[in-house]
C-alpha cells in the first residue's frame, strides 16, 4: 500500500467523515445547575472549550505559584532547606512571624483574587455580553424565547461568566479553612466569603442594568460606566475602615474594605456596629447589597421589556429610602453607656448625614426616573383628544407628589435626628430648619421642572439643559435666603458674644477681678462704631438683655430675622411662591403646546380634521 493510500488514523478520520457526510451533530446534554436554575444562555459569549481549558490551566498554575510563594514565606526552622530557600527569595527577615499569620495572609489573598474575578472581571464581561446582544440586534430572538425578562437578564448577568465564578468559588472554598487555621474568627471568615458573593451579585446586576440603558460606543459605554460606578462602590467604603463605631459599618459594604478590616488589620480593633451590634452591621450590609441586587435586576428587566418603563416602581424607591433610614437609625443608636456623652450627639449627627446624602439621593433618583417622557405624554394627549383618556393626568401629578412625600418623610426624619443630636437647641437652628424646608422646595420645584422640560422640548439634550439651568436658578433662589440668614445670625451672634464679654468684663472690673489676658473693650467699641453692627449693639444694652435675647432667639430664630430683616422675611417666601408660580406657568404653557402638537398630528393622520 502506498503512502497516499494509507488509511487515516481513526481520530483524524472521524471528524472528516462527519464533515463529509450529513450526519447531525450530537446535541450536548444540558444537565448543568445553571440550566435547572433557568439560565440556558450560558453558551453565548462564553469561551469555547479550548479557551476554557486554557483559563483553567492558567488559573491552576497561578494558584500553585501563589501557594508556593506563600508556603516558602512561612517561618521554618533555621536548619531546614525551606528556610534557606526563603532567605534567598525574601531575605533574612521572614514575611510572616507565625504559621497562623501566614495562613490568614494566604486566605486573604485567595479572597482578594476571588474579588477581582467575581466583582470586577465577571460583571464587566457580562455587561459587555448583554450590551453586545442589544448592539447586534440579536436580543429580539432571545426575548421571543419563553423566558421572563428577569430570566434573560439573570442568564446574561451570571451564566455567561459561570467559569469565572466557579474559579472564584474554588478560591473561596480554599480560603475558608486557611482563614480558620489563621485563627481568624469564624464569623469574620464567613462574612468575608458571603460579602464577596453578594457584592459580585450586586455588581453583575449593575452591569446588566447599565447594559439595558445605553448602547453607546458599540456597547462599551455601559462597560465604562459599570467600571466607574463599580470603582466608586468598591473603593469609597475603604475610607470608612478607620471610622469604627461612628460609621465603620459602611466598610462592610465593599469586599476590599471588609478584607482590610477583617484580615489585613488582623481583626478590627474598634467595633464595626449598627444598633450597637456587630451582627446587625453584618446582616444589614448583606441585606443592603441584596436589596441593591434585586432592585437592579428588576430595573434591568423592566427596561428590557420596554425602554419607556421607569427603572423602579414607587414601592422600590420606598424600600430603598427605608433601608437608608434604617442605616441612619442604626448609626445613631450605636451609643453605649460607657461612651462619653458627647458621642451620642455625634452619632445622631452622623445619622442625619446619612439621611441628608442617602435619603435625598434616593429622592433625586426617583425624580429623574419619572415615567412621563415626551412620547408618553404626547400619546396621553392624543388619547385625551380622542376622548379615550384615563387617569394619567392624575398619575403624572402623583409621581411628583410621591417624590415630595419621600422628601418630606426624609426631611422630617432629618429634623428629628438633628433634634436628638442637640443641633436644634444650638445656634444653628435657623439654618437647619431653613435648609430642610428649602430642600423640600427644591425637590418640589425640580419635580415640576423636569416634567415641564420633558413636555416642552423634543431632544434629550434640550430637556437636560433646561432642567439644569432651571435647577441652577432654583438653587440660587434657595441659596440667597440661606446665606443672608446665616450672615444676619452670624453678625448678631458676634455682637452678642462681644457685648456679653464686654459687660462681663465691666462687672468683673467693678468687682475688682482682674483679667490680664483679655480686654474686649476695644473690639466692643469698634463694633459699636461700625454701621452694620451698630443696630445690634443698640439692642444689647446690658448683660441681662444679651442673655434674654440669646435665649429668645434660640427658641424662635425667625424672630431675629423679623426684627433685623423684616423685608427679607416677607420677601423670601414671596420669591419662593413666585418661583413656584413661574414653574407652574412654564409647565402649563408647555403642556398646552404639547396638546396643540398632538391635535395637529391627529389632524394630519385623520385628514379630515377630526381626532382619530
Amino acid at each position: 500500500m502506498s503512502e497516499a493510500e494509507a488509511p487515516l488514523p481513526a481520530a483524524a478520520a472521524a471528524p472528516l467523515a462527519r464533515a463529509q457526510s450529513d450526519e447531525p451533530l450530537p446535541v450536548e446534554a444540558d444537565h448543568t445547575l445553571l440550566h435547572h436554575l433557568g439560565l440556558p444562555f450560558y453558551y453565548r459569549h462564553t469561551p469555547g472549550p479550548l479557551l476554557r481549558r486554557g483559563i483553567f490551566w492558567f488559573s491552576f498554575l497561578g494558584f500553585i505559584l501563589l501557594l508556593i510563594f506563600n508556603v516558602i514565606a512561612m517561618p521554618f526552622p533555621k536548619d531546614s532547606i525551606l528556610y534557606t530557600l526563603r532567605a534567598m527569595i525574601y531575605g533574612r527577615v521572614p514575611p510572616y512571624q507565625t504559621f497562623e499569620e501566614a495562613s490568614a495572609a494566604l486566605a486573604s489573598q485567595c479572597f482578594a483574587i476571588a474579588t477581582v474575578l467575581s466583582c470586577i472581571v465577571a460583571p464587566l464581561y457580562s455587561c459587555f455580553s448583554l450590551s453586545n446582544e442589544r448592539v447586534l440586534g440579536t436580543m429580539e430572538f432571545l426575548r421571543l424565547a419563553p423566558l421572563s425578562s428577569t430570566g434573560i437578564v439573570m442568564g446574561k448577568a451570571f451564566a455567561t461568566t459561570y467559569v469565572v465564578h466557579l474559579i472564584s468559588a474554588a478560591l473561596i472554598c480554599f480560603g475558608i479553612p486557611l482563614g480558620l487555621l489563621g485563627l481568624a474568627p469564624p464569623e469574620h471568615v464567613a462574612y468575608a466569603a458571603t460579602c464577596i458573593v453578594f457584592h459580585a451579585a450586586a455588581m453583575s446586576a449593575l452591569g446588566a442594568y447599565l447594559a439595558t440603558q445605553t448602547m453607546v460606543f458599540r456597547g462599551f459605554g455601559s462597560v465604562g460606566l459599570s467600571l466607574a460606578i463599580g470603582f466608586c462602590a468598591q473603593v469609597l467604603p475603604v475610607a470608612c475602615v478607620r471610622e469604627g463605631r461612628e460609621g465603620g459599618f459602611a466598610a462592610l459594604l465593599s469586599p476590599w474594605s471588609t478584607l482590610d478590616l477583617l484580615f489585613w488589620r488582623n481583626g478590627y480593633v474598634s467595633p464595626v456596629e449598627l444598633f450597637h451590634s456587630s451582627t446587625c452591621a453584618f446582616v444589614y450590609a448583606l441585606a443592603a447589597q441584596g436589596v441593591l441586587f434585586a432592585c437592579l435586576i428588576h430595573a434591568a428587566s423592566r427596561k428590557l421589556d420596554a425602554p419607556e418603563n421607569t427603572a423602579l416602581r414607587h414601592r422600590d424607591y420606598a424600600l430603598l429610602l427605608g433601608m437608608i433610614v434604617l442605616a441612619a437609625l442604626g448609626v445613631a443608636l450605636n451609643f453605649d453607656r460607657k461612651d462619653p456623652p458627647y458621642l451620642a450627639g455625634k452619632l445622631w449627627e452622623l445619622g442625619a448625614l446619612v439621611l441628608l446624602f442617602g435619603g435625598f439621593g434616593v429622592c433625586l433618583l426617583a425624580l429623574i426616573d419619572h415615567p412621563f417622557r415626551r412620547e408618553r405624554l404626547l400619546t396621553d394627549a392624543c388619547e385625551r383628544l380622542a376622548g379615550r383618556d384615563d387617569l394619567r393626568a392624575g398619575r403624572r401629578l402623583g409621581h411628583a407628589a410621591f417624590c415630595v412625600l419621600m422628601a418630606a418623610v426624609n426631611g422630617i426624619a432629618l429634623l428629628l435626628f438633628l433634634n436628638m443630636s442637640g443641633a436644634l437647641a444650638r445656634v444653628e437652628t435657623l439654618l437647619t430648619v431653613a435648609v430642610s424646608v428649602l430642600v423640600l422646595f427644591v425637590v418640589l420645584g425640580a419635580a415640576l421642572l423636569i416634567e415641564a422640560s420633558a413636555l416642552r422640548f423634543q431632544t434629550f439634550l434640550a430637556q437636560a439643559a433646561t432642567a439644569a439651568v432651571a435647577l441652577a436658578i432654583l438653587a440660587g433662589v434657595t441659596a440667597v435666603p440661606i446665606v443672608h440668614s446665616g450672615m444676619v445670625y452670624s453678625d448678631w451672634h458676634s455682637c452678642a458674644y462681644y457685648s456679653e464679654a464686654y459687660y462681663q468684663y465691666e462687672i468683673n472690673k467693678k468687682r475688682g477681678l482682674n483679667f490680664r489676658n483679655y480686654d474686649p473693650t476695644s473690639q466692643f467699641n469698634r463694633m459699636r462704631q461700625t454701621d452694620e453692627y451698630a443696630e445690634y449693639v443698640k439692642d444689647l444694652p446690658d448683660l441681662a438683655a444679651v442673655r434674654r435675647q440669646r435665649e429668645l432667639y434660640a427658641k424662635a430664630p425667625i424672630a431675629l430675622m423679623w426684627k433685623y430683616a423684616p423685608m427679607a422675611v416677607l420677601a423670601y417666601p414671596a420669591v419662593f411662591a413666585l418661583t413656584l408660580l413661574l414653574i407652574l406657568w412654564f409647565r402649563g404653557r408647555s403642556y398646552r403646546r404639547l396638546i396643540e402638537e398632538a391635535r395637529r398630528s391627529l389632524q394630519r393622520s385623520s385628514g379630515d380634521g377630526s381626532p382619530a
Partner: protein, 316 residues
C-alpha cells in the same frame, strides 16, 4: 386563536395602529397586507409581546399578550422583517441553541433541527458559519428558527424577501404544509399573488387602521365582496378570433354571467357556477359558431381587492 380588541399603538403622537379588532380562527392562514408604514409590523410586534400596546388587549390561544408574556411566547414563532443572527455559530448550532432556549429535550431537538434543515434546504450548509450565509439562506434559517419549537401560531413578516423564485416556491409549499398541520399563520407580504395561493383570511391595514378583514373565499368572503364573484363562482376570460361584439350580446343573454367587460377580442366576466357549468357555457359558445382561441378562469385577484379596499370601495 388570535383575538384583538381595540389594539392601539402610539409612537408619541403618531398612531401606528388604531383600534385594531379582529379574530383569526385556529388553523387559518391570514395574509396581512398594506403599504409600507401601514402598521403591519407594529401589529406583529405587539402580538409577539415585543412591543407593549398603548391601549387595547389581545389574546393568543386565550393568553393575554401583556399579562402572560411567557405563556404567549411558548405558543408563538416569529420571523421579523429584518433580524440578526449569531454570526459566529454554525447553522446547526444556531438552531440547537434556540431548541435549548425553548426547552426541547435533546432527542427531540436533534430530530427537529435535522428535519427543518432538510425541509428548508439547509442541509448542505449545516456546518457553515451563519456569517458566511447569503441573504436567502439567512432568511431560510430564520424561518427554520421560527418553526423549530412547533409553535401553534406563527407570525412571518415578509418571509419571502431576499429569496429567489425557486426558494419562494419552496417556502410557499412549506407554509402550505404547515397549514395542513393545523398551525395558525399570520403572514405579511407585498407579493399578493403568492399570498392568494394559500391564505384563507385577509386583513388589509392602511394608515394604522383595519380597512378590511375576513375570510378570503365563500359567499361572504372578501374576494366575493370586492370582485362581485359569488359563492363557487369565478371570473373567466374568453378570447375569440372575430365577432367579439356579437359574442358580448350572446353572453349577456346567458344565465349566471355578470360584470361583463370587453377589450378588443377578449371578454372577461364573472360566472356564477362550478367548472362543469362553465364548460357548458363554452360548448354553447362554440356551438353558436364563435371561434374560441382562449377560455380560462382568472386567478384570485388579491391586488384588485387590496386596491379597492384601500380606496374604500366595494363591488356592491
Amino acid at each position: 386563536m388570535i383575538r384583538c380588541e381595540n389594539l392601539t399603538r402610539y409612537f408619541g403622537s403618531f398612531v401606528a395602529l388604531d383600534r385594531l379588532t379582529l379574530e383569526i380562527p385556529q388553523g387559518s392562514v391570514c395574509a396581512m397586507v398594506g403599504p409600507n408604514g401601514a402598521g403591519k409590523s407594529t401589529t406583529m410586534k405587539m402580538l409577539t409581546t415585543l412591543l407593549a400596546p398603548s391601549r387595547g388587549r389581545a389574546w393568543i390561544g386565550g393568553r393575554d399578550i401583556v399579562q402572560d408574556r411567557v405563556g404567549v411566547r411558548q405558543l408563538i414563532g416569529y420571523l421579523p422583517e429584518s433580524f440578526q443572527l449569531y454570526e459566529d455559530m454554525s447553522v446547526e448550532r444556531y438552531l440547537q441553541f434556540f431548541a435549548r432556549a425553548y426547552n426541547l429535550d435533546n432527542a427531540l431537538a436533534g430530530e427537529r433541527v435535522g428535519d427543518y434543515l432538510e425541509r428548508l434546504g439547509l442541509t448542505e450548509k449545516r456546518h457553515a458559519r451563519v456569517g458566511t450565509l447569503s441573504r436567502g439562506m439567512r432568511q431560510r434559517l430564520g424561518v427554520a428558527k421560527s418553526f423549530l419549537h412547533d409553535p401553534q401560531v406563527v407570525f412571518l413578516d415578509e418571509p419571502a424577501s431576499g429569496l429567489d423564485p425557486v426558494a419562494r416556491g419552496e417556502l410557499r409549499d412549506f407554509l402550505k404544509f404547515q397549514q395542513h398541520l393545523g398551525k395558525t399563520v399570520v403572514v405579511s407580504s407585498h407579493v399578493l399573488k403568492e399570498l392568494a395561493d394559500f391564505c384563507d383570511h385577509i386583513a388589509i391595514i392602511q394608515h394604522g387602521r383595519l380597512m378590511e378583514f375576513g375570510p378570503l373565499a365563500g359567499s361572504g368572503g372578501v374576494l366575493a365582496r370586492y370582485t362581485g364573484v359569488s359563492a363557487g363562482g369565478r371570473r373567466y376570460t374568453l378570447r375569440v378570433a372575430r365577432d367579439a361584439v356579437r359574442l358580448e350580446e350572446f353572453l349577456q343573454a346567458l344565465g349566471g354571467v355578470s360584470n361583463l367587460e370587453r377589450r378588443d377580442a377578449t371578454l372577461a366576466f364573472d360566472f356564477d357556477g362550478d367548472e362543469e357549468a362553465a364548460a357548458r357555457v363554452l360548448a354553447q359558445v362554440t356551438a353558436a359558431g364563435y371561434l374560441v382561441t382562449r377560455f380560462m378562469p382568472e386567478e384570485a385577484d388579491l391586488e384588485a381587492v387590496y386596491r379597492k379596499a384601500s380606496a374604500g370601495g366595494r363591488a356592491e
